[in-house]
């Protein structure tokens, strides 16, 4: 009986000891370490996979068009100035549903423009125009609201963007000397929009002009209006249109623009992220090997450790089936306990690490339900297999031999 005056932590420890079968604590810990390794590596692989898939989904959801001639430019559109006349020409191409002019600027001009997939971006959108990307008809808003027609001086920020700056609805966000009121925070998408600050198109044009003195010179030369200030445009296609074919038609019909073919860009993206794909495959295999070896070794050792007990039980009349049932039952319980503890450890490590790197707008781990379910199933199945293997090895011995070896 537990004394009423016993401290709560000690009571909790006693309760835990009662739940874990006697003599199995180290086995449970051994399994937990293996599963924690598997889940942690798996969560990093999941994070990368989701990021790459998100980028792929984005590029396959729209035809991106940029102006010609300014090199890499900014953002996904990766182009120069796309003037209003060109946008009208694009809209007139057969099969085009809508064209959404955009301005994409890197938030920090000191960082490379090439790494737009991981870079924080200021994205200027016309709140009155429908979203052109068919995979992102609307971005999920976690708090506040999205942009509305007529908005000025406001921003909707991505989840990581907000977290890294402690931004919430109502907060002020200074960008290049202009203060924006945060009116919405997006839900986590685990891809590019998590790091966006989305502002009205006109505000983005102002920012661009202020940042790029060359543009001001161009404007002073005449012949340009604010409507010409677009870094690119997202093009939506009509139903039954082949986006790749339409992209090629636009390229052929409109001179002086760079058109990305969704299928080709997706392929390019996959090629450019092949290293990450290989990395995550390696991480997954490594996780399986490390976690699997640790787990199976722990369970096998735990069973072999009891070789004498098996000899005694067989002397008392236990059949091979009796022993196998007992061991499998115990292995099931121990594997479940160990894997649950391992998942807990991995979640703790993930939360700790992510709480640090989130300040740089990053997230390293993604503990998806499928990963956790796989880890639990993997641990249980491997635990059962290891226990069965060890038991079958032991029952081949005579009871006397088992007792001798276990002595």
């Amino acid at each position: 009986m537990v004394a009423a005056s016993e401290p709560a932590p000690r009571r909790a420890l006693r309760a835990l000891r009662r739940l874990v079968p006697r003599g199995y604590l180290f086995t449970v810990l051994g399994i937990a370490v293996g599963v924690a390794g598997l889940v942690s590596l798996g969560a990093m692989a999941e994070r990368i996979t989701r990021f790459i898939d998100g980028g792929d989904r984005f590029v396959l959801g729209q035809i991106s068009v940029a102006g010609e001639g300014m090199g890499m430019g900014a953002g996904f559109t990766a182009g120069g100035l796309l003037r209003a006349a060109k946008i009208q020409e694009i809209a007139a191409v057969q099969g085009v549903a809508t064209v959404q002019p955009q301005v994409m600027l890197p938030l920090s001009t000191s960082t490379s423009h090439f790494l737009t997939l991981t870079q924080e971006l200021v994205v200027g959108m016309d709140p009155g125009a429908p979203m052109a990307n068919r995979h992102y008809r609307e971005l999920p808003v976690r708090a506040g609201r999205f942009l509305r027609p007529g908005d000025r001086g406001v921003a909707v920020v991505g989840a990581d963007f907000a977290l890294s700056r402690d931004l919430a609805v109502g907060a002020k966000l200074p960008i290049a000397g202009t203060e924006f009121a945060v009116v919405g925070v997006l839900d986590k998408t685990l891809t590019a929009p998590d790091r966006f600050a989305i502002v009205p198109l006109e505000d983005a044009r102002d920012l661009w002009l202020r940042r790029d003195p060359l543009l001001i010179q161009v404007f002073r030369g005449g012949g340009f209006t604010r409507a010409d200030l677009n870094s690119g445009a997202a093009v939506a296609w009509q139903p039954d249109q082949d986006p790749d074919a339409l992209a090629r038609r636009i390229q052929a019909a409109v001179r002086g623009v760079n058109v990305t073919v969704p299928g080709e860009l997706s392929k390019l993206l996959r090629q450019s992220t092949a290293f990450f794909s290989a990395l995550l495959l390696g991480m997954g295999v490594l996780g399986l090997v490390i976690g699997g070896l640790s787990l199976s070794n722990t369970v096998t050792a735990a069973v072999f450790e009891r070789i004498r007990d098996f000899g005694v039980k067989r002397a008392l009349g236990a059949t091979d089936g009796d022993l196998l049932r007992e061991v499998v039952g115990e292995a099931l319980g121990v594997s479940l306990w160990g894997s649950a503890a391992g998942v807990g450890i991995a979640l703790g490590i993930g939360a700790l690490v992510d709480s640090r790197v989130i300040r740089q707008g990053q997230q390293l781990f993604l503990f998806s339900p499928r990963l956790l379910a796989f880890a639990l199933a993997f641990a249980v199945v491997l635990g059962l297999l290891a226990a069965t293997y060890a038991t079958l090895r032991i029952v081949r011995l005579s009871p006397a031999e088992a007792i001798r070896r276990g002595a």
Binding site: V312, A315, L316, G317, D320, S398
Partner: protein, 232 residues
């Protein structure tokens, strides 16, 4: 239960080594309620003989019979059932299971013989009371003295009222007082229930409690040293 060994032989093979013959041509019988002591020097094959008679180890040659049943050639599963139903073991090193309490160790004997577990646990407590270890029922083996552990092991051996008790140096790790308790209980089982007892021992006082003794010398039964009776 009448126990018979007929022409029992056993060799051990080491890796790459010549087989070592441990037992050869053993013929031995023990009747209902009889206590037979098996004596001999270390390495003479006493424990191996007991293991073979108890179906803990396969024999190479010969047969073992329990009454009318030739048990040495039964399939593994059937042998396991015979072990659980018909044989109780008392070992020198007790062989209690560390992660079970004393009571659970005793009750374990009933788990594999399709007995009602509640009844078995009640009887286990009664046996523990008889042997004076009931107050230690919730303790684990590592928390018990050697004498207590052997008494718990004895309770486990007799819980299913087996017709055959095999005791391998049951007093080897005990002081005189505890040794007397165990030997007395073995004698009581033979007298009160007609249990056949085979007792391996190198202690003269233990052998003296037997109805008769047989001596093993280098794996063979030595010729009887005169009439039946304790071996000095």
């Amino acid at each position: 239960m009448r126990v018979s060994a007929k022409g029992v032989g056993k060799s051990y093979r080491g890796a790459g080594a010549e087989p070592v013959r441990v037992l050869e041509g053993i013929d031995l019988e023990a009747g209902d309620g009889e206590i037979v002591a098996v004596v001999g020097a270390s390495g003479s094959g006493k424990s191996t003989l007991l293991n073979i008679l108890g179906l803990l180890e396969p024999l190479d040659t010969g047969e073992v019979w329990f009454g009318p049943e030739r048990v040495s050639h039964l399939p593994r599963r059937a042998q396991a059932r015979v072990r659980g139903r018909a044989i109780g073991y008392v070992f020198q090193s007790f062989l209690l299971i560390e992660r079970l309490t004393a009571l659970d160790n005793v009750a374990l004997a009933a788990r594999y013989v399709a007995r009602d577990q509640a009844t078995a646990r009640r009887e286990a407590v009664e046996w523990m009371e008889r042997l004076g270890v009931a107050h230690r029922r919730e303790h684990f083996p590592s928390q018990l003295s050697g004498g207590e552990q052997q008494r718990v092991a004895f309770c486990r051996a007799v819980l299913n009222r087996p017709p055959l008790l095999l005791a391998d140096e049951p007093t080897g790790n005990l002081d005189d007082e505890h040794a007397r308790v165990i030997l007395s209980e073995l004698g009581a089982q033979a007298r009160e229930r007609g249990t056949t007892v085979l007792l391996v021992t190198h202690r003269a006082e233990a052998a003296a409690t037997a109805d008769r003794s047989v001596r093993l010398v280098a794996g063979r039964l030595a010729p009887p040293a005169g009439a039946t009776g304790p071996v000095a």
